[in-house]
Symmetry: C2
């Protein structure tokens, strides 16, 4: 009588527009992404999902478990929205790096303003909660591992794994800034400059060049060669 059994619809019909659980998950993701866990209200979520407030308790138990599930739902959706590129054998690592950076920027920045899935994941990265560990293991680490293996290939195995990881973080950091601090970046540079230089394509070319130059795989950005 008092024992509440929480429903789990892990498999089918979870995407249909007449599936209440899916609608709640999607609405919650958007609200949590925009306002954060505290500021988002169950009533707003349920209004957006066109369900009764009691439905959250019925399907998820409470607000916290709804949040956990919506983060999981977000990175699962985003994984298949923007999958990692696949390369045929013999693809030069330089091209792989360029593809990876382009892929990462597209996944982070999106075409116009980024989808709520990314913004929700970003919140979890910036202020980790219980949902973070799964996000890292299932989403972030696989991507980071691919990056490090590309860098390993690129440097012909000269670098140790710690060094590769540090370089990988340099690559990620340059992309991450535009996503996490994009508003401030937009305030620091003139508006037209943002359109000309800071679009995903040119940015991917630039960041790739910057890293390749640092690794000695192409000419430095500045034409003047090392002085000493």
């Amino acid at each position: 009588m008092a024992s509440i059994s929480i429903q789990k619809t892990g498999s089918v019909a979870s995407e249909g527009h007449d599936d209440p659980r899916g609608r709640i998950l999607s609405a919650a993701g958007q609200e949590f992404a925009e306002k954060g866990f505290e500021a988002a209200t169950i009533r707003d979520i349920c209004t957006l999902a066109t369900v009764n407030v009691a439905a959250v308790n019925y399907y998820f138990g409470d607000k916290h478990r709804l949040y956990i599930e919506s983060v999981r739902h977000a990175h699962e959706e985003r994984s298949q929205q923007v999958p990692l590129p696949e390369w045929v054998d013999g693809t030069p690592p330089v091209k792989k790096l360029r593809d990876f950076v382009g892929n990462m920027l597209q996944r982070m920045l999106g075409f116009d303003h980024p989808p709520w899935q990314v913004r929700l994941m970003l919140r979890e990265i910036l202020h980790p909660t219980d949902a973070c560990r799964e996000l890292v293991e299932d989403y972030i680490r696989p991507h980071f591992t691919v990056l490090c293996s590309i860098l390993d290939e690129l440097t012909d195995g000269e670098m140790s794994p710690p060094e590769l990881r540090r370089i990988g973080l340099s690559v990620v950091g340059q992309c991450f800034l535009y996503r996490a601090a994009g508003d401030v970046v937009g305030m620091l540079i003139p508006p037209n400059e943002k359109k000309n230089l800071h679009n995903p394509v040119d940015l991917a070319d630039y960041i790739t060049s910057f890293c390749l130059a640092a690794l000695g795989q192409q000419n430095p950005l500045s034409v003047e060669v090392a002085r000493k």
Copy 2:
């Protein structure tokens, strides 16, 4: 009768431990930094500041204006806690860049865990509100301008201002990742690796080297020189 005049103590005694306005400002900064604007409560702030709840309304009007003031207070304090380095004429730009990166990392990461001032500013950068414009103009832009002028000096005026800004963002991005996504970074790399390679000093050396190599001002990180 109903007209409330908000107190402004812009000048003296604002730092004393028996100044209620200063205590509220400090307590609010810590609470906002840890929990964010919505989750932080006026009651908790006032308990921490050992003042009555009515004091917030008396000194600041409402919660929102208290937040704005506490962000201002945070970056004013942080400006004099970690001032920009000053260089004598003739200092080589390579040293200036290394100093700047070290200074930025120290300001962002702090010695142990970063002070609440930085975390509060970070929140404002990630999810800008009304307090962001002033933060950018008074704190971030001056630092960024210095960085760009160092890069200009470093490249002997070969780069256009937009290019300099883009390179500057590459420098900032590599530092910013450790601050904003430090928890996730810590989950991606082994614990001992974090202590060995990811401390402020070694990180500053590495990031400086990475950028100098990219700009052709020192040998690339990988010993193998450009192939083509």
